[in-house]
């Protein structure tokens, strides 16, 4: 068991809260799947081997941008051992994770958009044969001009990467104004204008993508695959293969990490499915590390311009934010990511007026998508570094500035996001106390510094990816006469511990041990729909569905036990595998006895639970759905660094952080999520770069991906992790199961800006971009020495033709959540929403 002393201190924000009667929830436990995992027993997709199984390899484009004039597969098809060669014409139906961006085909039909874009697939008896046959495919490419950056995309409308989107190579522009920011700037004592750049990075999950597809005896399809979103994949398979979903079963295999990189339906998943159906043989593909870099869907590089108005006391009067988003070759989640580069700027600090404009462009690079924090780490970096600059100029302690401006619980923000519990102030106070901030900030010797940053994140996206009125999560429970409980969930266990959390919730309510619960998750045949493991949604949404299913089962048991023991059902307690009346020791039944009684009365005991996010009446303007969430979490982090002023060498010495997570359902897991987030945040802050360079014009001008390997793409090792000190701020949120909010993404967000702010405290220079490297620090120090602005960062934000913003007056200006300059849409049919469950 984890040792108590290793676990974070936990501060309750509500001293009166009860909950100490909980036995499973809140206890530091081994996760339910730990035994198998530590003994190497999970069968990952790459471990699967089926009789007669064939192997698939993909031919990928060597060009960043080209038209395919022709593909000749005859030599490859004739190669001994090759069963099948597929090209784009074999599966031309377009798909994509978002309904508005159905812009991918499993194999390129006539256009490749980045190095690594798949062009053909070879399925052969042996993997090596398939690989060799790739060389026998003749592709005639017409190389096109490439677009390496959003600036180039804006300046280069032709050739277009896609025929949809706004115009030229602009994929999506959004433009909002919540209150007149010019009024805010006029009221301000100081106006700050800052440019920031956040470099792209990739997920670097340990497990490379792998899939096996097989045709069942009855002609149906089963796909085992490493995915975070079996349900969305299920839908894409149905679309591309032209089969009903009822004939397709997706099984999410144990997952060696996702972090957002397995949240899209992937081309290789569709290809092996098609091949298995055509060949009537199992077909497997295991991507190499290099191919995973080409699949990407990682962090969007974002250029940002923040203009903030502030009063002398630190009160924010307005923020005008523009972001320019480098999307790569396809849509992926990009439209959502684009909204997220500004949706949560209002949820940490009270902003009376807010203007937000964002533009995503296509570029000839692997597509960007969701990576931990999805679209929000970039503007969070800008906002938190700008807050530090504001504090510096106004001579207010950065912690104090944030405390003064922190949002209030249940606030309705300028952009009509409905907040829930807010532990931001407690997070700041506690991290300041635990780190000794007051003795360190601006007091450490030259070369040492501390920096503070905060963040806010969603607990599950409020809207599904496709419009529908059905629940976001469902749970089925079956109670066995012997006392065993089977839990069937559509959730995807990607290592975050969702199986454990769901078991704990059911065990707590039914008064049993998690060992008596068997979880079947990630299987579209066995479990009801869950939208997937993304947006930090599973604990809250599937957790609430589990609460409902367990409460329904409990009610059935309580009814029969109450009859038998002749006590009112509300007297009964479910604990220690018994159902009993605590007031009368002899009045008790074992849990299996209770089930038998219930089954005798009601028949088979099975219950279902569902979860819908609360209806979101607040944001009624178009685009207002992005950023909505049942509730939000808050984090604060202080990073201490050491910077050598001669060499710019940067070392992170300590990290302190606090996270408002409502309630830690299993503190061991929650701590793992926090530390993993900090690890990932430090990687992005210090070294990770999905970097590309254009070759000189006299050479092909091609766009080059820096060697896609784990040696050249640097991330931290265990030896590079500084000590991390964590405290949980707990104040149960009524919207979460047992009060829980998210913990998987939020703690990452403050890390990069805290490092930047600490570098300023250490040596007095601003690094307004990540990664923060010695050469950038050195260049900023040289600027400082030369008497120029002591910073390194972007110097220019391009002119963008913004559409007229949707004007939405904020709540305090009498706004009702609608835009005053939008053409009204016909009202949507009223949702058949059940009462949202709350405990």
């Amino acid at each position: 068991m984890p040792r108590e002393k290793d676990l974070p201190k936990r501060a309750s924000r509500d001293p009166k809260r009860s909950g100490d009667d909980l036995r499973v929830i809140g206890a530091a436990r081994r996760r339910v799947d730990s035994r198998g995992k530590v003994t190497g027993q999970p069968i990952y997709a790459d471990d699967i081997s089926l009789p007669r199984m064939a192997h698939c390899k993909l031919l990928r484009s060597p060009h960043p941008h080209a038209r395919i004039r022709s593909i000749d597969t005859s030599r490859a098809s004739a190669h001994p051992g090759v069963y099948l060669v597929l090209t784009g014409k074999d599966m031309p139906i377009e798909y994509g994770i978002l309904p508005v961006s159905q812009d991918e085909t499993a194999l390129a039909t006539d256009h490749v958009r980045h190095v690594g874009d798949p062009v053909a697939a070879v399925i052969a008896r042996e993997e090596l044969t398939a690989f060799e046959a790739l060389d026998l495919i003749d592709v005639d490419y017409e190389v096109l001009a490439t677009i390496s950056s959003p600036e180039e995309a804006l300046a280069t409308p032709e050739p277009r990467l896609h025929t949809y989107g706004e115009e030229g190579n602009i994929h999506k522009r959004v433009s909002f104004e919540f209150g007149d920011v010019n009024v805010g700037f006029a009221e301000a004592d100081e106006v700050f204008e800052d440019l920031f750049f956040y470099q792209g990075s990739t997920h670097l999950a340990m497990e490379q993508h792998a899939s096996v597809a097989a045709k069942d005896r009855d002609g149906k399809l089963t796909l085992w695959t490493s995915t975070q979103v079996p349900h969305y994949l299920h839908r894409s398979l149905a679309k591309v293969l032209g089969m009903p979903t009822g004939h397709i079963r997706v099984i999410a295999t144990p997952c060696g990490g996702g972090f957002g990189g397995k949240s899209d339906p992937m081309n290789h998943e569709l290809i092996v499915s098609k091949a298995a159906l055509m060949l009537d043989r199992p077909v497997k593909i295991s991507l190499t590390r290099e191919e995973v870099f080409y699949c990407h869907r990682g962090r969007h590089p974002v250029l940002m311009k923040f203009k903030a108005g502030v009063k002398k006391d630190g009160t924010l009067t307005a923020l005008d934010l523009q972001t320019l988003v480098d999307g790569g070759g396809y849509g992926s989640f990009g439209v959502a990511s684009t909204f997220y580069t500004g949706a949560l700027q209002t949820t940490a600090y009270h902003l009376p007026r807010y203007k937000f404009r964002a533009c995503r462009t296509f570029t000839n690079k692997p597509p960007c998508g969701p990576k931990r924090g999805h679209g929000t780490p970039q503007p969070r970096f800008g906002q938190e570094v700008q807050m530090d600059k504001i504090a510096e100029r106004l001579n207010i302690d950065p912690a104090e500035l944030r405390l003064r401006t922190a949002v209030k619980p249940n606030e309705l923000t300028a952009n009509f996001l409905q907040l829930g519990t807010v532990g931001l102030s407690e997070c700041i106070e506690r991290v300041v106390a635990m780190s000794g901030w007051k003795d360190k900030f601006r007091k450490l010797p030259e070369g040492r510094g501390v920096g503070l940053a905060c963040s806010c994140y969603l607990t599950g996206a409020g809207l599904s990816i496709y419009w529908n009125q059905m629940p976001h999560s469902g749970i089925l429970l079956k109670l066995d006469r012997g006392g065993g409980v089977t839990l069937q969930a559509g959730t995807t266990e990607i290592g975050q511990g969702s199986d454990d959390v769901l078991s704990a919730i059911v065990a707590e309510i039914l008064g049993i041990n998690t060992a008596d619960i068997r979880v079947y998750s990630g299987d579209t045949d066995l479990g009801p729909v869950d939208l997937g493991s993304y947006s930090s949604r599973v604990t809250l949404m599937a957790g609430n569905a589990a609460v409902q299913a367990a409460e329904r089962a409990k009610a059935m048991l309580a009814e029969v036990v109450a009859e038998r023991l002749e006590v009112p059902p509300e007297y009964l307690v479910f604990a220690n595998n018994h159902v009993f009346d605590p007031g009368a020791a002899e009045k008790k039944l074992t849990f299996p006895e209770a089930i038998c009684l219930a089954e005798a009365k009601f028949g088979t005991i099975g219950t279902a639970g569902s979860y819908w996010p609360p209806k979101m009446p607040a944001a009624k303007y178009k685009g207002g759905g992005v950023g909505t969430s049942p509730t939000y979490t808050y984090s604060a982090a202080i990073v201490e660094v050491e910077v050598d002023p001669n060499t710019g060498w940067l070392r992170v010495v300590n990290v302190w952080n606090t996270h408002d997570l409502g309630r830690a359902l299993n503190p061991t897991l929650a701590l793992g999520q926090v530390e993993g987030s900090i690890y990932m945040g430090l990687g992005e802050a210090l070294m990770e770069e999905q970097d590309f360079r254009r070759l000189p014009k006299k050479l092909s001008h091609a766009l080059v991906h820096k060697a896609p390997s784990m040696l050249d793409y640097k991330s931290l090792t265990s030896l590079d992790m500084p000590p991390v000190y964590t405290e949980f701020v707990e104040g149960p949120d009524p919207r979460g199961p047992f009060g829980a909010k998210e913990v998987g993404q939020g703690p990452m967000l403050p890390i990069a800006p805290a490092v930047a702010n600490a570098v300023f405290d250490a040596v007095g220079v601003r690094i307004d971009e990540v990664p923060i490297t010695p050469e950038k620090i050195l260049k900023a120090l040289a600027e400082k020495k030369a008497g120029r602005a002591p910073r390194f960062g972007p110097k220019h934000f391009p002119q963008i033709q913004w559409p007229e913003p949707l004007r939405v007056p904020p709540p305090w200006e009498g706004g009702d959540g609608r835009a005053i300059n939008d053409t009204p849409k016909p009202p949507k049919p009223a949702a058949k929403v059940e009462k949202v469950l709350s405990r």
Binding site: L59, F131, R289, E290, T647, W649, D691, L699
Partner: protein, 336 residues
Amino acid sequence: MAVIRDVIPAFELFQPASIEDAQSLLARYGPEGWVLAGGLDTFDWLADRIKRPTAVVDLGQIKGLSGVRVVDGGLEIGAMTTLTEVVQHPVVREKYRLLAEAAEAAASPQIRNQGTIGGNVSQDARCWYYRAGWPCYRAGGNICYADTPKGLNREHAILDADRCVAVNPSDTAPALIALDAKMVIRTPKEERVVDAEDYFIGPATDITRMTVLQPGDLLTAIRIPSTWAGAQFYFEKVRDRNVWDFALVNVASATKVSGSAIGDVRLVVNGVAAHPVRLKAVEAAVTGKPRNEATAELAGQLAVQGAQPLQHNGYKVPLMTNLVKRAIRGVAGEAA
């Protein structure tokens, strides 16, 4: 550029039992042959399908190429000795600690268990354009991709570049030069011994090679004379992360002190040029000087004279200055 890698193409594997057999195989296959020592550099090239030899000659079965022996008061280290064996050898640790520290700084424990000292000193240049198979000067083309306005070159050379700006990243190489080691080379005709300092060559000498080894030549052993046994040593390696990473800059020095003055010193830096750089001018300037801050300052300034940083590696200049200063002081740890 191949687009899917990680699958090593088929080749014929030979495991000769003698140096003579190895060399006759290499003669037979000529440019189609490939010498395999620990395999760390080799398998990268093969898996990336940039180098596609038809015959691989594994030196692992040749007796006598591995192990550390005490010879003439000094040491002879077989070229196939693993870095772990070098690190753990008691005499290396006692008398030539510089080499133990350098070898222990290389790569990761797993790689040191497999990687050899001969391979470590003979490894090919580090430049991700070159390693990705781009047809650069070093690969026989007529361009350097790293030294262009938009090139990525933060890992690259600040000294002695000639068309190619790649670096030698070996950690043991500067330590061996500081210890005045001798490289024992078996050519098809004879055995010859060259100073470690002369073993490494720059692009001006031959842009396609990193060492004096000609095709068919084998490095068989490294001899460390007793000259510097027990001297005062300093080794430091700066890298982006603390394990499994090449040096951005490293420094190795051996110093003999007479009284409070520096009596005799050898000072070598790597990661800054295509070959390890012995700083003879610095050595001459500090000899006879007290081991103090003024001497360190002098050494640091002198060390980087002539440095020509590229767009993204200017930080290597102060880094090298600092490492040289620390080596002269003989103590690590001070921020400045």
